[in-house]
Symmetry: C2
Subunit: 382 residues, 2 copies
């Protein structure tokens, strides 16, 4: 990367940020009934908590995200955080105004306790000794962090995809604590098709001989399995149209097909690259735990109905969907909106036209910036 | 299965049929330029060729099909052929009227020469010594069989999915020979998304250590890889709606989740079963070769444009699509229809409303029967 360009993008961002760690020393009770702890929580913060302590926003990441939502951890970083386009000075989540917090989820592999973390009782990684967790458990752990930071109310909880699931559990569990929720490209329950894609990804990992029943931390990881899981995921994150626009049937570095089983098409090369590079930055067991938590997510079943789930909440909602998102399609966002309206809650819904598929929440900066800016301004005033 | 019910379904079908084999002793020139042969072709026939020899219909199977399109190969068979609902006395392809032929494709593993066949020059299975083939190559081999059977013109060539691709190559290559084509749930070129799903399936097979660069015929086959490829395939064959109706979020043999990595949901159990049972009946190398042939299928690019591809054809067309088919969506059928109309060809198009996804061509019996019956009657008269 060109140094000048790099510095300019650092200047354009929140700059250099440090990942911090909070260790909650006790045990928490998980939704499964298991008591688990201690828990280390990796987090980053951006902007300043104001005197009134009423400008804090918690950002919630999706399957493969982490605490590093914006800026650079070091000047050598090639890329900024995963939602840098949305978090920073004068951006959708404006760090000049708001105190932004983002933490790695429970079960993750980016600093928060997960299956790859060392179990203090054995001195070895938990592996499958780590308990199966839920979205609610992730939220409980986030609340411990927020309390530790001295934040006594949240202006908003916001996230896309699985981040939106967490946002909904937040306002249900802590109705007095959270002023608003921004739920983007998400759903109130994972569909059969969503479970199916997750199940195939998990099967790929578990079938990899290197997985070894989860005990691979001192040997080769199940790279092939995790890579396949990620390739499947990537197909679901793009729309058919965006794949067509991005790759079409273009061949990779050749003018005619090879008539063998090497990579022929650009789309194959892209997926293989995505799969292989994911292996360097993600833990296969975390992939199992997190997708399972998504599979289990089902607010209507857990609370009797979606309306019942939302009956006690006090937060204002902004729900955003993208027309070409076929993983969490607009209809699933509309179900959330309808349920909120049925129990007379304050909800704004924005159905954005986009051909970027599910990934639109990471890509469609301009439209999201306008509506989130305006939504937050209203809440912050009120 | 109940014996009485079984006999009644045999009576309702074409009954007991025998798979036959034709050995073409010479070499054929493949699209890649390679000369390949001899070729054994497995086929079945139903009904009788009439005196005028003008009632023959060639049925063309999809990725995992075979020559056994209808009836039972033995009274012990648990299931009839793959399109039994459509082929038989008084069915869509009426065996009282028409002489029906169906053969296993080149590269397959159900009797026609493919990678699992023994190479007569080495006495060992071809494995990856088998040449990479195309849809056109499959069609060339089918023509050898049709000539061998003494059929000198085809009333129709018909197939769903990859079968539709073959139908299109048939009428392009043998315009004088084929009176009509029935192209169901198909496309004139595989989309980037279609290539992507195939590529992930192939990666799963190739990553399986048992695959051993294709040489597994004297050892354990790459069962895990093939099973994963099939699971991915099955997701694409169903629609989100049909998955929802069929499985929803129903748990498999339990009332609450297990909080472990066993199968929790019915949809997981279904996919695992589909994957595992596929391994017993299909060859992993065939899966590689056939999906590659689909990837390469691109009539517009091969002939300059779709209109140019169809310019010389003399066959009437029936094109059928299904509303919830997201693998080969209706728009891709419409592209075929438009191109045919642009070059003034005779085409009927039927867009069937169905929530069965791509698999609808195997399921939607009634609607397809009506339109195919009527289409064929017209052609047979004319």
């Amino acid at each position: 990367m060109d140094i000048k360009q790099k510095n300019s993008s650092i200047n354009d961002s929140v700059g250099i940020v440090e990942t911090k760690y909070y260790i909650y020393p006790d045990k928490i009770k998980l939704e499964s009934g298991i008591e688990f702890g201690p828990v280390t929580i990796a987090y980053e913060t951006y902007g300043q908590l104001n005197k009134e302590a009423n400008n804090a926003i918690l950002l919630l990441h999706a399957l493969s995200g982490d605490a590093h939502v914006a800026g650079y951890n070091s000047p050598e970083d090639k890329k900024p955080g995963w939602w840098d386009s949305m978090v920073g000075p004068n951006k959708a989540f404006d760090t000049n105004k708001y105190f932004i917090v983002c933490s790695n989820i429970l079960g993750g592999c980016k600093g928060t306790t997960g299956p790859s973390s060392v179990n203090p009782e054995t001195g070895k990684p938990y592996a499958l000794g780590f308990p199966v967790i839920t979205i609610e458990d992730m939220v409980k752990v986030q609340k411990l962090l927020i309390d530790h930071l001295g934040v006594n109310s949240l202006l908003s909880v916001a996230g896309g995809s699985m981040g939106g699931m967490q946002a909904m559990e937040w306002v249900i569990h802590y109705p007095e604590f959270v002023k608003s929720a921004i739920v983007i490209a998400s759903t109130s329950k994972l569909s059969a098709q969503g479970i199916a894609f997750n199940a195939v990804g998990r099967t790929a990992i578990i079938s990899d001989l290197n997985w070894n029943n989860g005990n691979y931390y001192e040997s080769e990881p199940p790279a092939n399995g995790l890579s396949i899981a990620r390739m499947i995921g990537h197909i679901t994150y793009l729309s058919e149209e965006s794949m067509h626009k991005k790759f079409g049937r273009k061949l990779q570095d050749k003018t005619s097909p090879d008539y063998n089983f090497n990579v022929d098409f650009q789309v194959e090369s892209y997926l293989q690259h995505q799969g292989q590079s994911f292996v360097d930055r993600f833990d296969a067991n975390s992939y199992l735990y997190i997708t399972k938590a998504m599979d289990y997510f089902d607010l209507p079943s857990k609370y009797g109905s979606l309306a019942l789930a939302f009956r006690q909440i006090k937060s204002k909602f902004l729900v955003v969907s993208f027309s070409s998102d076929w993983l969490f399609p607009p209809d699933q966002s509309k179900d959330v909106v309808k349920a909120l309206m049925n129990v007379d809650k304050d909800v704004a819904y924005c159905a954005i036209e986009s051909n970027c598929g599910h990934d639109a929440f990471l890509i469609e900066k301009d439209h999201q910036t306008r509506i989130i800016n305006s939504f937050l301004k209203d809440i912050f005033k009120g």
